[in-house]
Amino acid sequence: MSERIVVAMSGGVDSSVAAALLQQAGHSLVGVTLKLQECHDAHGSKSCCGVDGVTRARDVAGSLGIPHYVLDCVKDFEQLVLLPAWQEYAGGRTPSPCLLCNEHVKFGLLLDWAERLGIPRVATGHYARLEKDEAGQPMLLRGCDTGKDQSYFLAGLSRSQLDRAVFPVGHLRKPEVRALAKSHDLPTAETPESQDACLVEPGQSFSEMLRKRFDAPAKTGEIVDEAGQVVGQHAGIHVFTIGQRKGLPAGAASRRWVKSISPETGQVTVTGNVAELVGTEFVAKRVNWLAGSLPAAALPCSVQVRYRHASEPATVEALADGNLRVTLAKPVKAITPGQAAVFYDGDRTLGRGWIAPPA
């Protein structure tokens, strides 16, 4: 059945192939590229300011013969993604901006935009799959390419957002996607990998870029070891994340990791004992639960505490305040406040919560 679908085209190979597949299936497409950053923000930098992406997406849309528009989301992106991300860093936590972008921009602003055009559905090149459960509710499943699976980044979408989403490459593996790009003769067949919101060059600090953008003061302070001994000073808590090894002063212990960050005092505590970094329990807040109602009793599932993390067996249980208590079957390293915890039952995404700092 032919539908009108808005397809988000980043200029990368995944969304290009997504568009090609939908077109092949006979749908009537409207290609859109989200402009997330002003070009002059990137003056003197080689990082993608979005213009390359827009140009490539326009090229792909042209070769597929579909209309293409640019949706200027620069200010919205700053307010809905970058500012909250900075607030997390400023609070001593580590944000997950890609989730915010999917929840508020790609399946927020872009869905609204499509709706204003009278088009109900939005497709993206995410590696994730959608199916319906017995009750007709959308189920978000992991992408078939386990190395590329992006369900983690999408786990904050509501059921009504998922109902309107289309993920045409979720059942494919990356090499298949590249091969399809070639066979469709798409100009993006060879484009390099990019992350969801590629805003910084490798080696550049995302958090420092945010601090400068919002002209915010850095919360400086001491670096102390587990004994409370001051081992150095730092230029701002925002450059640290739990479990980090880089950028710490050399000390007695040959290896040190960040164990905790105190936004109040600015103190960063480090440890040389890796066992100090592990945890077995945390609370997940502001939960988006996709599988029925929140689990009243301990529900066995698996949990992923950051994007690049193999999920671990755990149980989750709703607390009276709507938060989830997560209990891991075995200790997990660097459970980082601010990151998204995403819960799975096999391939099915059950929901997402934000990891709260330990009480």
Binding site: K35, C73, D76, Q79, W113, R116, L117
Partner: protein
């Protein structure tokens, strides 16, 4: 495709193309060269300059070729301000100018020069009372557009000239949108500077001109050779200038017939749309360009209409950019006192010489269908 975005740009006229093709060969020389090839190119530029000058009722030496309307506007604003004496730092312009005038005025303001942006009434006509108040002896330049690109509202330039001249200021008018749609004769208008552009009158892109009345002081923005009397140095864009010259000649010859016919098409379109679409309202009023229809569709998003019309095969435009927070509504409609939401519900239709009666009938149907579809989708 039904093209109804003539205020954005126009298609190259076949006669213009022929003239340009000829100039690419016959005029390959550098007009500044002493030899025969240079002389041939120079003659082509001279001939084009005469045609361009005739189009605005000026002498050929009063024409400065530029890269287009934006550069002509910049040269006028910054050039007059730059050449003005120290006791005349002021510039007066209107709130509804094109960015090509607003931005250089804002640039002057940043350099601590006094700049006044005149308000407009609900029809988009500038407030002459405000002009009288702003026209002080320290004003070097008054720049008011001849007709607005968004709404087509024609400005009372004769009155502007009267007030400005009384305080000793020179008057520039941005006639980029008016040229080819209204008679543009510098002596009737009484202005000292006038900018116009080739691609709005079926000429090529990348060329425009500033009319500069004899004796008016202007500081160049670009420094280099002696071309354009040192006011705009750089080897001339010979094929572009030749095309512009031909386009001016054709526009002048066709002006009356074309604007009458386009006015009829527009009248038919407007009466149909206003009668058949509930909540459709015309933006702008009083004297308007014969080809421009700026229409608000209550409760709808102008961009959504524009994109759906594009998908259906009709080219129109909105003043607005894109997403929610970023969607700056047309500064023209906002200056006319509209709310941001009202302004965002507007679409600009601009017709031209190639539109047919049949196209207008189809355009009406497409617009009615699109508006109905969007209203159904919302309900």
């Amino acid at each position: 495709m039904i093209y109804a975005d003539y205020n954005a740009t126009t298609r190259l006229d076949p006669e213009v193309r022929a003239a340009m093709e000829e100039a690419l060969d016959a005029g390959f020389g550098n007009p500044s060269s002493i030899h025969a090839a240079g002389q041939a190119a120079r003659r082509l530029v001279d001939k084009a300059r005469a045609r361009v000058a005739r189009f605005v009722g000026a002498a050929p030496e009063e024409i400065v070729f530029t890269s287009g309307g934006t550069e002509a506007d910049n040269l006028a604003v910054l050039g007059v301000a730059g050449a003005a004496s120290g006791d005349r730092p002021g510039v007066v312009t209107s709130a509804i100018e094109h960015q090509a005038v607003l931005a250089p005025c804002a640039f002057l303001q940043k350099q601590s020069r006094p700049v006044t942006f005149l308000p407009v009434d609900g029809t988009g006509r500038i407030d002459l009372g405000a002009l009288e108040a702003a026209a002080k002896p320290d004003v070097a330049l008054v720049s008011v557009m001849l007709a607005n690109n968004d709404t087509g509202t024609v400005q009372p330039i004769a009155e502007v000239v009267k007030v400005a001249t009384a305080c000793g200021a020179v008057v520039h008018t941005d006639a980029v949108q008016a040229a080819g749609k209204l008679p543009v004769a510098v002596n009737q208008l009484g202005v000292s500077l006038l900018s116009f552009s080739s691609h709005k009158i079926h000429g090529p892109k990348g060329v425009g001109a500033l009319y500069l009345r004899r004796g008016v002081a202007l500081a160049p923005l670009v420094h280099g050779g002696r071309q354009e009397r040192t006011l705009r140095p750089g080897t001339e864009n010979v094929p572009g200038i030749v095309g512009f010259g031909k386009a001016c000649e054709l526009a002048q010859a066709r002006l009356e017939a074309d604007s009458c016919r386009v006015a009829e098409l527009r009248a038919h379109f407007e009466s149909q749309i206003l009668a058949r679409i509930r909540g459709a309202r015309l933006n702008g009023g009083g004297a308007r360009l014969p080809n421009t229809s700026n229409i608000a569709f209550a409760g709808l998003d102008g961009e959504a209409i524009t994109i759906n019309l594009d998908l259906a095969g009709m080219a129109v435009s909105t003043g607005a950019a894109c997403s929610s927070a970023d969607k700056t509504p047309s500064h023209v409609l906002v200056a006319m006192g509209q709310s941001a939401q009202e302004a965002r519900s507007s679409v600009r239709f601009s017709f031209g010489r190639d539109n047919t009666d049949e196209e207008i009938d189809r355009a009406v149907i497409l617009v009615v269908q699109t508006v109905n579809m969007l209203r159904e989708a919302r309900s």
